[in-house]
Subunit: 337 residues, 4 copies
């Protein structure tokens, strides 16, 4: 890191900072400019040191120069990480599509959805048994019953499943049933949950917090990886901005930014990213074109009857049409669906 001293800092002030660095076991390279003095810090970066230094009146600010994540960093695995789930590989040349309804509603609804998305070419089935809902009066999910339905549909169709885990208490239960755990946008910084998911060996999709910077997101990945679970997939699902024409603003630039910063697979959820089914097809194509390693798309047999997210769900017919159109886009960037 680099310490920038306040204008007017005296040599004595600089010395005090250098002594403080020494106490943290860090070296200092002082560069006295005409107006300000800058101190290059030598040694391993420590968050604690940075905050302690910023609390000193002599210091204007501290500029970190190393990424605060290590296991998630591209350097940790320059070739890129491949995550395999039930025969489906994420992070390779193929761009798998995960599809299904927002919520598990009934065995019939899930089976109908699963058969339809499988027929159209999806390779992983999504469906929520625990539902994070803004209102306590909205449907909260079928919980364990929903997990059992997912399990039955998996057996029937052969599709691996991904479903959301919402808190530490239900983690074991969900992990017992699912092929991939999903951590939702509102839990991206639920650190206890991240820590416990890190102790499982179940692959996990970590959605971006709706106001999270890319660096914070990678730090949440680091929570999981530092527990020993290295099978993390990042999912861009839109961030919150002032724009109201879409439910969120899907940040497709996050995909190539992440591909440079981390070795992990990056997928995109255009359903939550836009909130409108009409926008799902163009943004899916855009996601594949910018280099996404997978897509997660909401599909419901009858969106008008969905208990949640109907407005952003594709019908099976529309989904099949989209899948047919995605192939050429993937091919145009050297990949396949």
């Amino acid at each position: 890191m680099v310490v920038i001293m306040r204008t007017g800092a005296t040599p004595k002030d600089v010395n005090r900072v250098v002594e403080r660095l020494k106490a943290f076991g860090l070296g200092a390279n002082v560069s006295a400019g005409v107006e300000k003095t800058v101190i290059g810090v030598i040694g391993e970066r420590k968050g604690e040191a940075a905050e302690a230094l910023e609390a000193m009146d002599e210091v204007e600010r501290v500029v970190p120069i190393l990424a605060p994540y290590k296991l998630a960093s591209r350097n940790a695995n320059p070739a890129g990480t491949l995550i395999e789930v039930g025969g489906v590989a994420l992070g390779g040349n193929r761009v798998p599509v995960m599809a299904g309804p927002c919520a598990v509603e009934s065995p019939e609804q899930m089976l109908e959805a699963a058969l339809a998305v499988k027929a159209a070419g999806a390779s992983i089935l999504r469906g929520g048994a625990f539902k994070p809902r803004t209102s306590p009066y909205s449907f909260q999910g079928l919980e364990e019953e929903g997990l059992k339905i997912l399990d039955a549909v998996r057996k029937e169709t052969g599709l691996p499943i991904v479903t959301e885990v919402m808190d530490t208490r239900s983690l074991e239960l969900v992990a017992d049933y699912t092929d991939i755990l999903q951590i939702g946008t509102r839990n991206m910084q639920n650190f206890h949950l991240l820590r416990e998911v890190g102790r499982t060996r179940v692959p996990v999709i970590l959605k971006r917090g709706m106001a999270a910077t890319i660096e914070e997101w990678l730090m949440s990945v680091e929570y999981i990886m530092s527990g020993g679970n290295h099978q993390v997939i990042l999912c861009e699902r839109g961030i919150r901005t002032f724009e109201t024409a879409t439910r969120n603003t899907l940040d497709l630039s996050a995909v190539p930014v992440l591909k440079e910063l981390t070795h992990l697979p990056v997928i995109v959820d255009p359903s939550h990213g836009t909130g409108k089914w009409k926008l799902v097809a163009p943004l899916s194509k855009g996601a594949v074109a910018v280099g996404a390693d997978g897509l997660m798309i909401e599909v419901h047999p009858r969106p008008e009857e969905a208990v949640s997210d109907g407005p952003q769900s594709l019908t099976p017919q529309r989904f099949a049409g989209l899948m047919a159109e995605l192939g050429p886009v993937a091919a145009s960037v050297g990949r396949s669906i």
Copy 2:
């Protein structure tokens, strides 16, 4: 709610929507304009109906007209709610100040901080035993040991305490020790935690999510209240914007907005709201002037040695100076500190 039909919707389309409303047990008042038809919906608002209607192609959008929260609504208690904790009342004429370090570090540090803030006029002690940290490599709190330290300091000083709970699994433990539970910004939509906190009878401070709208915040309050715990205090702590001169943008307008929408007490945390100790004093005064019912301020005996949030912590001397200045500001708006 009001349903706005798409331009070009036919009488048959309108009829289909009216039938759908009937299926939800709702009446319809159709108003055919020159360019668009609008349907006023009669009956209790149901979130499910709104989403289902928005999923219909004939419908452009659905405009809710009633607030989606009920227990939290000002109408539920127009006179305003007073919450009493250890002899301190929140929501009344007095504006209590909660102060203390970000994290519990040691018995000595907590006692020193507690005696200092009490001497300066604070009436509630804050301190974190479980710490939500962006990095898995940062200090995560003393956990149960920290709770025991808080308990001992409470006995020594008589100050009631407020401390953070981070997940469902540790709720019972934290609730056993603390006078007020705190739910942090990253957990504002940790719905399972909200639900379980709603089943306790411990007063709770719910901080605003850094990207949460005021309506979403009140819906999270509703989660807690619908469980039976009506002792909820809202805490504005800054939202995330593009501005980088401050850690967050403290939204002081949220205070009078909330005082109109809800009957619950509203407090302000200028320490997290700004991230810089120099800004804590002016923003504390601003918070009192706009009508806050309390303040939460970080104070550390030696900010340079704090394990977290040193840059935004006041020294005891600065805190005492601020407390002296706050009295006249409170008096100027008819209140007292």
Copy 3:
């Protein structure tokens, strides 16, 4: 529009609003719900009426139901508008690429850039003679001399040119030289400039304001069109969010949203949208895949020597590589570059 009355509004209050509507020549369709009364307004929407009604204490809020723009609306030309400039059509099947340096620096630099981008397949040349710079101490552009250089390069290469106009005073001068006027992000709501550009008959690219909603952007288009100039091209160039990994957040969802709302061509500028040359290629592909009608890309013979925007400029070699890759992407969505 729809008027939502305050809770507790009396029939007398409702009547007062109905009378006020009559004074504006508008009819009313009153729908008394259980908790709130809603008034459907019949007649042409008038902004003045909406604001006047919102200023009434009896009124909670006014919900507009018609788009406030008319000439820009998709309904005004459902087939879509084709804008032709120097033999290049925007809004059709082909996706033309505009390329060149941020600023005109010298005749040699412009000619070198122009020949390079033309050889790679660009069909329009960009270059700024008037430069909006954040600092008054930065290079402000060659002004008229820059326009003359652009003119000479156009003659030499046959490429039509696009260049920015910054204020009303220099509009006539710029319009005399350029094939397409560009209005930058900071001037999107410079209403006097919009009005005067509306009186010319020169095609204009209107960049999105960095904090502008899509509706506000279309209202700025309406300013130009209502003056009689119907040749407007919208350019998405990134919006401002909390994310700092990119200079702006490129909102690719704006492209399909606009294609539904307006009949005008929509192009994308991934150079300003990301601020980093490495991100220009993937985001260019994403833009074409979501349906953009054109691209605007910064190319400089030697980015390290550029007087502005070097970090986001492609070298001619990188640009040529990108152009070769864009063809298949365009083909995959049924278009050509």
Copy 4:
């Protein structure tokens, strides 16, 4: 500034950067860390050098360490600047209030408003003759006729006036009439206008752009000051965020941040900052408590009949009530209204 090299940069790479710095007349202090090399740059900071260096592949990023504004910097006049207009001083102990309608509508309306705000204690009259309106179909202001009305009302009441200038072409006209020029939020980066206003000697209020960082705002001040006009007043008027309960989010923390960074007076506009008259009183008090040097408040004799901004305008009675309440708040922070 500090140059941070990419991980893996070789001594040859470092040398190339040092040579490039030399070419700009700058010295270099190389600090080789374990993982990254950092170069402290010695000599005057040049924006051009920073951009050129960032365009080099060897360079990861460039961190500026000096503020890019000089004339606006607090260092340029540590004691603070007092701006006097018609006997009213801004930047001193007193906190003057500017009040009046959004738009000049008629001689009667302006005179009525002026007499009312004067009686209540306002010392400067506001009113727009040129109105920046989102829609081309909305009232655009009385233009020169409006300026004449303002002039007449000034003579009648003795109140100095502030009115908005929207473009370079009308600057001379507006400057001839007004005591204080106002530059609105949408023109904060209308650089040609800033430059020309800098050549006048008329005091100017520069409103913050709704998506402008504080640093960008100060750079716009620098544009005006570098032309020789040092009488600049900054006006916080709310920024754009995701929150929809208020028209903008009034950033009161900007006031103390600016008071540290610049020597110029800082005022607050709670009318535009909130968009709702009910919020104007509490936010006005908050603004005074955080240290604002003045207030700008919209007052209309009959808000329901206002041609613009009725919903956020106070009636004369409410304004008089607010003025009475502001005195004690100002006194509580050692100032007067």
